[in-house]
Amino acid sequence: MTKIIEPNKQSNIFKRPSSETGIWSWITTVDHKRIGIMYGYAAFFFLLIGGLEALILRIQLSQPDNNFLTAAEYNAMFTMHGTTMIFLAIMPISAAFFNYLLPLQIGARDVAFPRLNALSFWIFIFGGAFLYSTFIFGTAGAPEGGYLAEEVGWLGSAPNGGWFGYQPNAGMKYSPGTAMDYWAIGLQILGIASLISAFNFITTIINMRTKGMRFMRMPVFTWMTFAVSFLLAFSLPIIAIALFYVTFDRKFGTTFFLTEGGGDPVLWQHLFWLFGHPEVYILILPAFGIVSEVLPTFARKPLFGYAAIVFAGFGIAFIGFGVWAHHMFASAISPVAQAGFGLSTMVIAVPTGVKIFNWLGTIWGGKIKLNTPMLFSLGFIGMFVIGGLSGVTHSVVPADTQQTDTYYIVAHFHYVLFGGALFGIFSGLYYWFPKVWGKMYNETLGKIHFWLMLIGFNLTFGPMHWLGLQGQVRRTWVYAEETNLQFWNIIVTIGAFIIAVSIIVFMINWIFSKRNGEKAPFDPWDARTIEWTIPSPTPVWNFSKAPEVKSLDDFWHAKYEEDEEGRAVRKESADQMLLDLEEEGLNPTENIVLPNPSYFPIVLAAGLPFLGYAVIYKSIPLALVGALLLLIGGFGWGTEPLEEEVEENLEHE
């Protein structure tokens, strides 16, 4: 008895993709799990590249007056390191979690728009490839009075105006060549990808929840996905328009951000940080969500103050829109604005503090099991608190003007984005490893990874605090020997290499465990949320039948009951229930209709880089190629139904 309805392959103008394994099945897939896995691998690839760039930077800075890199190459490396880590590593790796887990956590069969989901993935891939093609096609000239043209090697032929692209430095006059165009248009393309996925996730969470999954029963990770999607949806349009202006300034001779033509460089800073600050929360909130799932599971206690965590998350998201100008205290903004944004920056520490105390309340008195995901989550709390506290010091305007553009700032945001976001992400990677692959990772290697990373991380970014307060300036490729900054810079470089080693340990663990790891038990962590009520690895159809949720932490309540003293006691029937669930999950009894794979997302996405090249090189043929691909993709998409009509297929059976 076949359960999954086969697509009717000849029903359309174009032949539908039909392979179920091999490369074509991955290229044409619209399955949220496969898309999530692809997001994860692609993002990890870019994480390695971004890490490599960081190591190159650290080699240069390990000695005073070093000449490992030229100034031009150094500029390109720090710009690409920041851009890569933010847009190509952390954001997509969060998207990987959203994709894989969101439908499972709300009990859905897929996201609301599966093909749009594939589209945003492919746009991300093409956007990343487009940005990195700058190393092949891009040129970065020498600005007047700047470094010499011969210093720009191939390594320097990348965007070099910083990830924030401050104007007029990133304008044509000071950043000649095409490299900064690659940056502006590359971010534009990546923005489209994120924007589409944001629509998709918002709609999915509102409209695809299963029976009984009320808003206040959703897992915190789902809530944080919701908050992040809002932030993306409302902040990306602002940067998109600002990048339009940059492209017009650079390619078509307008002067939006150039004072010589009546433009306003501070306006760029406003528009950039109007996006850029919510972006910080876009990077950190997914980690908040992951940690809020991991801590209660391994402390064996319910999350302390579920509602408080949810509302604090949205409080952060909302206030996060009102603090952007604290990045601009050293710019020409009015003192009234400085005071106002200083205050709002202090205020945003409050909901963040609420969350920290909720997590501490969760592990307080719990039966803590210290395995790898838990270690990373605890590490996250510690490191994030350090980063958060140094963040509050920036809200004091006079202090901030001293700290601006020093390594103190670099230390601060690496504590929140590496010690925060990335630790949370690793916690999630280990936690859901059994779910995705059906195997267990190696606990010893996992712990080695954690301790190496914790030590390496603190060696790298801890000393940066005092380097910054001693006055080492960021984005500068050398420091003089007389400044006595050498000792801590060497320590920092050593720390960076320890992080690199820890990442290698992680990769070995991942590859080895995925191949030869032990088979994961049905419910390896004694978990609380409904993604663990289905077999691992997740079947293509997710849930055999729509689950019904009766409470928050529904799976836990199915397994445990309270005894007279209010302690959780495992029900006698729990083990049998797990066996039944596994049996049921693998053998669906009703017809399952899955969205069909499609060629058109990738075709449509492939048009965008061509349009990007067309703008950079002002080439009509390239624009036509891009438009043609968009047209074919759009037409094919429009004429192809998402799912085959069920009635027709039943006749075939």
Partner: protein
């Protein structure tokens, strides 16, 4: 989403695609908001050279604004006809909407060329730059809308006709079209009248 499987969806009662479109339109506010903000900031400053007030033609733009406004009426009438399942009328109103949209676009192209001839070019000054990017971005939206309307009209030629469900349905396009119209309501006031 017409499949008959038992999987539950739409606990809110709003059709998923329509909801997605509303989310998209909410973010479009931020797109146009950024553009209008820039326009307002630069409008209040001194800039050399020719100004919009030297070249524009209020009666002409008023008429094309009125045409775009009326295309919203034809759009809602198409929607209404489809709810009554009158395929013939739906197609007529759809085509009328697309035509009105095209007339507006033609008017904008004519206006831009006139401005260029009078020396009000993209790089003339900061004001002209913001003007062209703002109104051009809106024009691009109208263009996409016309393409969608014509595609819908083409789909309507098929045997089965149009319906209010499934892929690219009329309600979906209608929401987009009305949004393009309300943006112009704001732009007409902000750019031309104030």
């Amino acid at each position: 989403m017409s499949s008959s499987h038992s999987y539950p969806h739409e606990p809110t009662g709003v059709e998923t695609r329509k909801l997605g479109m509303w989310v998209f339109l909410s973010t479009e506010i931020l797109f146009f908001g950024t553009l209008i903000t820039t326009f307002m900031i630069f409008k209040g400053r001194d800039f050399p050279g020719i100004k919009l007030t030297d070249v524009y033609d209020i009666p002409f733009t008023s008429i094309s604004s009125f045409i775009l406004l009326m295309s919203s009426l034809t759009m809602v009438l198409a929607h209404n006809a489809l709810e009554a399942n009158d395929q013939e009328k739906t197609r007529v109103w759809l085509l009328a909407t697309a035509m009105l949209g095209s007339v507006f676009l033609a008017g904008q192209i004519y206006e831009f060329t006139e401005f260029y001839h009078k020396g009000f070019e993209l790089t003339t000054n900061i004001f002209s730059s913001t003007f062209y990017v703002l109104t051009g971005f809106h024009g691009l939206h109208v263009f996409i809308g016309v393409v969608l309307l014509l595609a819908l009209w083409g789909i309507g030629q098929r045997q089965r006709g149009l319906n209010l469900e499934g892929g690219m349905n009329l309600e979906f396009v209608a929401l987009y079209w009305h949004f393009v119209d309300i943006v112009w309501i704001v732009l007409f006031t902000v750019v031309y009248l104030i």
